[in-house]
Symmetry: C2
Amino acid sequence: MSAPLHEAHPSSPGRGLPDTQQGMRRRNLSRVMHTLNTEGPLSRAAVASHIGLTRAAVSTLVDELIRSGLLEELGPERPGRVGRPGSALALSGRGPAGIGAEIGVDHLAVCAVDLRGEVRARAVRHGTNRGRSPEPVIHELTALVRRVVAEAEGEGLWPAGLAVAVPGLVASDARTVVRTPNLDWHDTDLGTLLPGDLPLTVDNEANFGGLAELWLGDGAPSDFLHVSAEIGIGGAVVVDGRLLRGTRGFAGELGHVPVRPEGPACACGGRGCLEQYAGEEAVFRAAGLEPGEDRVELLAERAAAGDKDVRRALRDAGTALGIALTGAVNLLDPETVVLGGALAGLAPWLLPSLERELARRTAGPACAVTVSRLGSEGPLLGAAHSVVRAVLDDPATVGIRP
Amino acid sequence: MSAPLHEAHPSSPGRGLPDTQQGMRRRNLSRVMHTLNTEGPLSRAAVASHIGLTRAAVSTLVDELIRSGLLEELGPERPGRVGRPGSALALSGRGPAGIGAEIGVDHLAVCAVDLRGEVRARAVRHGTNRGRSPEPVIHELTALVRRVVAEAEGEGLWPAGLAVAVPGLVASDARTVVRTPNLDWHDTDLGTLLPGDLPLTVDNEANFGGLAELWLGDGAPSDFLHVSAEIGIGGAVVVDGRLLRGTRGFAGELGHVPVRPEGPACACGGRGCLEQYAGEEAVFRAAGLEPGEDRVELLAERAAAGDKDVRRALRDAGTALGIALTGAVNLLDPETVVLGGALAGLAPWLLPSLERELARRTAGPACAVTVSRLGSEGPLLGAAHSVVRAVLDDPATVGIRP
């Protein structure tokens, strides 16, 4: 389960597979899976017409996918969208499952998603992870993973892999947490701490949030800048349906774009970074509040109740977001900017000033700003779906029950 | 000659061609061309071993490419790098040529580049184009194009296409200049003004400068941010060997990244944009100089002579570049930042302050800054090479003599 497979776009299934007969077979298996993922249940003939292969060629591919447990035939009692009952194929609801996990600053969460994209099991543990070393946190996370896997197995699923979202920079080995400003973990190889029986991918929470938006968002475009916040501010750049990772995997660090170069010092070593104006601590400080649990809910409640200090703090945060996003939009020319994570819940009070800055400063035509409906669920769902996507992208190898 | 073909990376020749037998043949023709482009003259057997096909399959491909005039066999008097004289193949020096053109604010230039990457003809006209309408400028450019084409034809080449670099935003049709701040052209379709007998591509000069760096730079990485200046400041983002164009083709507008959000008003509608601190006019103003012709040379001469005002102006421009680039590096995590165009000649006085800002502000590890050896030749060479690349990427169709 290598990282690039996670990012293939439905429009080019199996991208990256070798250009041989064997590679072509694997790409065609992937095309069948992606067609059923996009279109829902279809007959063999409809699949063949969708992907431009003969009915006979598709039948061979489908038989292989049924044998592997990745597809199932719907019985006559579920005719789906085709005329002849019994002939419809669907992605299996009892096949591989993607296990997603999230290490938040204030919570742990795990879920299992089947090939159809349905969440089939989940577990959450609230409570801060600040100041804790990695071992006990990962120990707790492992217990949650085991519970979710057992529940999924009880429904006939089997785990195809584990993807973990973390609030920090991850090395290109997709295992090692290089730095988590709010947990104070450094160069921690989660591969040695997590159960070794599942293929593992670790990634930044903002990356998984951006991927979730790409895969699950309402009419999400394939070129967008996803801005999210939990405690810090993260960004994910999606270009042509692919996440832009950067040379060292550190792309998307929107929180440290300079907004006012002579502004307050930031933990990153810079001055006047976006996080100093729109990060959670900065907003609480500007509003004269003490941070507690359920921080975002508190801000949203106060703002909705008309609290002038909170509204002013959010308006100023929106202005800072607008300034930083102007630079990003001028550089990247995305189709939209998507506010996700905790920012989605605060959008009504951030958006007016954010959009005003963006409109008056952008060199090209103004860029639309939308609000994610996934909100703070994005990173966890993105993690689980990344495993499911890896199966869709290369069912011949990634989707095989171990 | 569609835009994406220009950007294919040697590591994935023919990317984007359909996944059919015919598409596979076209990809393999492209592999042969790219192998000879990268490796220089090779025997058929060496080509076969490079691309992993049988000698017989390669011979069929090579025969087709020789018939089309894209390859030639080197005679026994030029044994090249292989043992048996007469068996070495090379890209043709009498085949298709890429015609590149540049519309600068203060000059026009045209050149012809053969498949081997050699400039075989060129023509330049100095003199400002400010305040001139498109028609007379394009009329002059057309005369230069005709002169260069005639010269190339005299050497046995034939023009495969014309690519034009312009100092402004270009629409996704790759023909229409949307806006050129320093020429004051708006929504100008160059396709109706330029000779219709050559396939035409129009692109932003910064994009062609970035592509030239990718294709011709000294050990250029495949992930970098190219920063250039003629009169304005332009950027080109290259990710994984491909130019990032943005949704509307407007990506790379580094000159309008906010540096100090309450700074001086900019023509783009924003305030405190990078161009207000590091653009040519800003630097001249800061140094107390009147802009004339040969602006960069003047600044470089004065700085080299120890002029304190010029040195301070360039130092401040470097600081502003460093602040804007910090945001870009945090977002994109490129392998390097490359200073090109006019900035290359001023690098000794820009770099110290630029690198200092970048090092102290970047969230991840500091990003290396290099200086392009192409300098202000980049956009013109990038334009001509984009036509040559299109032939290498799809020789079966793009490389056919009309």
